[in-house]
């Protein structure tokens, strides 16, 4: 894959991970599911998504962007 496309891909992925941690689209929503607010479930799920993205980054991107050769 083209290196710069790959870099932009990671940048977008991280931007999405950061922006989605707070479910802005649920602003003012007070729906409860299983006793907890819907927005809290979103956040819990999102943090797990973040962990998956972070894990993928450590495998495929980590060393590439600080000038260290990807061995």
């Amino acid at each position: 894959m083209n290196t710069s496309i790959r870099a932009v891909g990671w940048l977008v992925a991280f931007a999405v991970v950061v922006a989605g941690a707070v479910p802005w689209f649920l602003w003012g929503n007070s729906q409860l599911i299983g006793g907890l607010p819907l927005w809290l479930w979103w956040h819990i799920g999102w943090m797990i998504v973040a962990t998956i993205v972070f894990a993928a980054f450590t495998r495929h991107g980590w060393d590439r962007y600080l000038g260290v050769a990807d061995a």
Partner: protein, 544 residues
């Protein structure tokens, strides 16, 4: 002592002996761990400050995590959730779980790579060497110690007050603060980073376990009677048998959670809705960004960027970060929220978590949670003592007072630094000076001002010494003026704006300081040329 009774959350005085035993037992365990670590500690400063850059994933993860946690996790955080709603979970997750993890890579991994090559032990040392400037080194160390000192003092005050509350005044405030300080001096002084990291790991695991046990205990205490009541309604007592196909553990827990929230749904339907006049988007974003960047520049966190034994350790910690944050803060803040739903009333000046636990769990368990809070305070302050002392001896004392100090002597100076730093903050905590408390409570914003100039320096080879000094001094001045000068209303184009207020339109002024710091660093660097003693290649980490 009504005040101390409030701090203990109204725990019965009869339990004071048991509670003191819990705390002292815990302190002794920490000391013992320090002694074991001491036997493994070598003579040099690198081993003392950085455990010879040898920490593995579990220890690095937990020592950083425990260091991040302060009394906020157990006291102020649940209080906020109780009064304002559980949205702080989002702030915490965004800030510590995601933004900090990204900075862990961008700042932490880069610093680790540079530190491996050139043997740096502190951030001021790294910057001073790169820019060929002892003055820049002194400036960064000075700014850091300015914000750190009162923050350590706040932790000692918190520990002193917690002990007063725990023992119902039997241990006076100064005695509590002194006890904690002496124990910390002993194990930090003896064992350095290795001792601190090991005790932090125990403290982190302890806090995590205690908070989940608290959740389980409170939920079963609420859920048990609720299920019993539901069972009676069916007029079939045999349904009460535990473990029937209907009353599964899931059913009991969800019933308990529903009951904990039921009060809120009727009395305060907007409490659980996302957002409020308190939790505005500006507040959530400002707080998450300022604290996440500020945390990376706290000496005790920043120094941990140098101590991993391999890149794999940094990678694993980075990945596990969001999950760890979720595991600790969701239960801590939900307990505060449930207390609101259950109609727990918290006396003025008391903390909600001890009150809630006092209501639903035995007193010894509530004491254990307070011990957990003290663990949080101690694990933060021991690391701050160690790092503060390293900034003081390596970046101020050695370059400016005694440049020709030997490695062995430096290791002893470091221990002297720990004693001096701890004693000074302890003495200051006795007088509880208002100005220092204000500095301590605004420390995150102060440290956040350092982050962007440092990031510019790490990634832009054309950064100059003059640019760094301008960026750091300019942003600090802007922020300090807003912390200390009184807000002054001024008319600008017909609209009245409150100048020197802490927020503008709901946005924290620390954000403006950060932008100014980055702009000054880049702008002034662009306009100036680097001196011959500036060594940009020091920050290059390309494969060689």
């Amino acid at each position: 002592m009504p005040e101390s009774a409030l701090l203990a959350g109204g725990l019965p005085a009869a339990m004071a002996g048991v509670e003191l035993l819990v705390v002292v037992g815990y302190l002794l365990v920490a000391l013992l761990v320090g002694l074991v670590a001491y036997r493994l500690t070598g003579a040099g400063a690198e081993d003392y400050y950085l455990a010879s850059r040898s920490l593995g994933t579990l220890v690095l993860l937990f020592t950083t995590f425990a260091t991040l946690l302060s009394a906020f996790t157990f006291f102020a955080g649940p209080n906020l959730a109780y009064r304002q709603g559980p949205e702080w979970i989002l702030v915490m997750g965004t800030m510590d779980g995601i933004l900090f993890a990204v900075l862990w890579y961008l700042i932490g991994y880069k610093q680790w790579l540079i530190g491996q090559r050139h043997g740096y032990m502190t951030l001021p040392e790294m910057l001073g060497d790169r820019f060929g400037s002892t003055r820049l080194r002194g400036l960064v160390a000075g700014v850091s110690l300015f914000w750190l000192f009162p923050y350590v003092m706040l932790q000692q005050m918190g520990a002193g007050e917690a002990l007063v509350g725990l023992t119902d005044g039997a241990v006076p405030y100064w005695g509590g603060a002194a006890l904690i300080t002496v124990f910390m001096i002993l194990y930090v002084g003896l064992a350095g980073m290795r001792g601190v990291a090991w005790t932090d790991t125990i403290q982190g695991l302890f806090m995590l376990s205690v908070i989940w046990i608290a959740v389980a205990w409170v939920l079963s205490a609420i859920g048990g009677p609720a299920v019993a009541a539901a069972g009676l309604e069916t007029n079939n007592p045999t349904f009460l048998a535990l473990g029937s196909s209907f009353y599964t553990p899931q059913y009991i827990i969800s019933t308990a959670v529903v009951i904990a929230f039921a009060g809120l749904e009727t009395n305060n339907p907007t409490f659980l809705a996302l957002g409020s006049s308190f939790y505005t988007p500006q507040y959530i974003i400002s707080t998450a960004v300022v604290i996440a960047f500020g945390v990376t520049m706290f000496p005790q966190i920043n120094q941990r960027f140098f101590v991993a034994n391999s890149a794999a350790v940094l990678k694993r910690s980075f990945t596990l970060w969001p999950v760890l944050v979720l595991l600790l803060f969701v239960p801590a803040f939900l307990l505060g929220t449930w207390a609101a739903g259950l109609g727990i009333s918290v006396p003025e000046g008391a903390n909600v978590l001890p009150v809630l636990l006092g209501e639903y769990t035995p007193a010894w368990f509530a004491a254990l949670v307070i011990a957990g809070a003290m663990a949080a305070m101690m694990s933060s302050s021991d690391s701050m003592l160690l790092s503060g002392s390293s900034y003081f001896t390596r970046d101020l004392y050695r370059p400016f007072v005694e440049p020709s100090v030997t490695a062995d002597r430096e290791a002893w100076l470091a221990r002297g630094g720990v004693v001096a730093f701890a004693t000074a903050t302890f003495l200051a905590s006795l007088t509880r000076p208002g100005t220092l408390i204000q500095v301590g409570s605004t420390a995150f914003g102060g440290f956040a001002q350092l982050a962007l100039p440092v990031m510019v320096a790490l990634y832009w080879a054309n950064t100059t010494r003059v640019g760094m000094v301008a960026g750091i001094a300019g942003s600090q001045l802007l922020y300090l003026s807003h912390v200390f000068l009184p807000a002054t209303p001024v008319d600008i184009g017909g609209a009245t704006i409150s100048l020197f207020a802490r927020t503008y339109g709901g946005w924290d002024v620390a954000l403006a300081g950060m932008v100014l710091g980055a702009a000054l660093t880049i702008g002034v660097s662009w306009l100036t040329t680097a001196g011959t003693d500036e060594a940009a290649e020091r920050f290059a980490v390309g494969a060689d």
